[in-house]
């Protein structure tokens, strides 16, 4: 999925947060000259903006409130990632929520990029309830715009933390549709547009896609700072392996990627700071350090 690119030749960073790594990987998946619907802020938004800044200048960024092709004024105020002046700045068009939904239903929005809480082998997403729905556990935000994106964009990129409790054999609640039970035509049988569905999953440790036949999650590559065993141990089900059996190693963030990200996007460190781990390269060896410690190490 991610082949060589401008990042391959560029100088690599020796220290970065796992979340920064995840954003860079997602950014490298961005396809130029396509429309991207990004739900809210966070990793999905940063990935697309970073790609647009460095690799794919002709990407068009679309937001749920109907902002089309903005050149957002970064950084944003806390939480103000949608329906506010800065994210809407210098747009080509300000539409409405139904308006942009129409554009998506009519097929004008190519890619969606989504954060999620929980995922199953068929890319179904849960952002509604962890536990037994309505009986015990915890209520979360609900699908928001993610259901729309997951249903109607042509290809959907999912982002989540690489944790065992997040990769589950069956999500507690399907908030946004993946390939449902994975059977052929499952999405069409419930009224969803043809030729849509999850396309990639990017975590802080690994990159996945979905097998075209079985629609099952398939591992493609892992971070240089983890082992395959670590990746699989932090999943409650076993993903398929790559068609050729070779799990690739993802290239670490480049210095340029991180400079842009840190100085123009996550300027306050708010996004990065919520990640648990920083990755530091010492010689040829990657090590994971705690956040407190990393603060001292990080050059920024």
């Amino acid at each position: 999925m991610i082949g060589k690119g401008p990042w391959s030749e560029a100088p690599k960073a020796a220290s970065f947060a796992e979340r920064e790594f995840q954003v860079c990987i997602a950014a490298r998946l961005v396809e130029d000259r396509k429309t991207y619907w990004v739900a809210g802020g966070g990793g999905p938004m940063y990935a697309v903006l970073l790609a647009k800044r460095l690799y794919t200048p002709d990407v068009i960024y679309v937001a749920e409130d109907g902002v089309i092709g903005a050149e957002p004024m970064l950084p944003f105020d806390p939480v103000m990632t949608l329906a506010a002046a800065r994210p809407s700045y210098r747009a080509l068009m300000w539409s409405t929520m139904n308006g942009i939904g129409d554009h998506c239903a009519a097929g004008y929005l190519d890619y969606g990029v989504l954060n999620t809480l929980q995922i199953d082998p068929y890319g179904n997403l849960n952002s509604t309830w962890l536990g037994t729905y309505g009986v015990e556990g915890r209520r979360f935000n609900g699908p928001g715009g993610a259901d729309t994106i997951a249903a109607m964009c042509r290809r959907v990129v999912l982002m989540l933390d690489h944790q065992r409790r997040k990769f589950v054999p069956r999500v507690d609640f399907i908030s946004s549709p993946g390939y449902l039970d994975g059977s052929p035509g499952a999405r069409e049988r419930v009224g969803l547009p043809a030729k849509t569905g999850p396309w990639a999953v990017v975590t802080n440790w690994a990159l996945f896609d979905f097998d075209e036949g079985s629609r099952h999650l398939r591992l493609r590559a892992i971070a240089p700072f983890v082992t395959l065993d670590q990746v699989l141990a932090e999943m409650s089900f076993k993903p398929l392996m790559p068609p050729d059996g070779k799990v690739q190693t993802l290239e670490p963030p480049t210095e340029q990627e991180l400079t842009i990200f840190r100085t123009e996007m996550d300027v306050s460190g708010q996004f990065t700071d919520t990640a648990a781990h920083w990755i530091v390269k010492e010689g040829e060896r990657w090590s994971v350090v705690a956040k407190e410690q990393s603060k001292k190490i990080s050059p920024l």
Partner: protein, 329 residues
């Protein structure tokens, strides 16, 4: 009779607000058509036009040009048993639930915290599951005066199961198609940049379903940063987003979206944003309500005494020095 029929392939089990376009027309038939002044205070507007048991929608949220003053007034007046449309909202559902105002919610996106989880599990809050776009589709159908509308999402999710949606055999393609019921709320609360005394309203920037909610709802309260002369509407009729005849009350309320942003006019108050988020996630919403709502006789008092003019000036300055293009006539 053709003898043909369309199969109903699946149905959500969620209760939904009763659908009857003709009944809605009965109501709209009684509304005033002449240009009559509708200016009143937030307290009077909420007192006259929000009743216990009403289905209430509001546009945008507590962060972005939402009707924050009107929501606080609903809480201050301790309205009860509201059924709310919680799409693209943020903390308002949690505030209403903790204030005891709300016992049913159609949900798209919201920030609930422990209080909402508890209310659901204890069955003090019934929830029905949609998404932002499905709720906007329902409001659009309500605004169109029709009873239902086909959509290309929702199918296959558990939201569908807990919603009023149906999966039908499409009358044209024969393929399975999801339809959702129209929504005609009792009340819409909408905050706008400019209105006249009759209710004609301008909004700059994107809208969520401001226009659709205004059309679809029986009672419409508009709060406005600025009251302008009707002559200004007549000079640029292309800027009018909401026509006066759907509006029942006009509230002149500068900073009516505080602590949210009103694009082009003032920024959000970041400290307040963090405070309410913290209150919700930390299960301290009641303290928040005491401090900012119950403890204040009105939003006037809150803005002047609790927030203070220097802060309001700062929020204005931050909004108007950058990114303010496109938010003026």
């Amino acid at each position: 009779m053709t003898g043909k029929s369309l199969r109903v392939l699946d149905e959500g089990q969620g209760e939904y607000l009763s659908v009857d376009p003709d009944q809605f027309r009965e109501w709209t038939g009684r509304k005033e058509r002449a240009l009559v002044a509708k200016l009143m205070s937030p307290a009077e507007a909420v007192s006259r036009f929000v009743a216990d048991g009403d289905y209430v929608v509001w546009e945008t949220n507590y962060l972005n040009r939402g009707p924050a003053t009107l929501i606080r007034e609903v809480i201050r007046q301790r309205k009860q048993r509201l059924w709310v449309g919680g799409k693209f909202t943020w903390v308002i559902v949690a505030m209403l639930v903790e204030a005891g105002c709300c016992d049913r919610a159609d949900l798209g996106f919201f920030v609930g915290g422990p209080a909402v989880t508890r209310a659901v599990i204890e069955k003090k809050l019934k929830v029905y599951e949609y998404s932002n776009l499905i709720m906007t589709a329902r409001l659009r159908a309500g605004a169109m005066g029709i009873s239902f509308i086909p959509v290309r999402s929702l199918g296959g999710t558990d939201n569908f199961k807990y919603s009023g949606a149906k999966l039908l055999e499409d009358p044209y393609t024969g393929k399975p198609t999801v339809v959702v019921p129209a929504l005609n709320p009792d009340v819409a609360l909408i905050h706008v940049h400019q209105a006249d005394q009759y209710g004609n309203a301008r909004i700059f920037g994107t809208t969520i379903t401001d226009v659709e909610s205004a059309l679809a709802s029986r009672k419409v309260i508009v709060s406005a940063e600025e009251i302008i002369n009707t002559e200004e509407f007549r000079h640029k009729p292309g800027l009018t987003k909401i026509p006066y005849y759907v509006v029942d009350a006009v509230v002149h309320q500068p900073f009516g979206a505080y602590p949210g942003e009103c694009p082009g006019l003032y920024s959000s108050d970041s400290n307040h944003v963090v405070e309410i988020l913290g209150a919700i996630n930390g299960d301290r919403v009641k303290q928040y309500l005491d401090k900012w709502i119950y403890g204040m006789a009105s939003d006037e008092q809150m803005l002047i005494e609790r927030v203070g003019t220097p802060k309001l000036r700062e929020l204005q300055r931050r909004a108007t020095t950058v990114a303010a293009e496109g938010y003026r006539a």
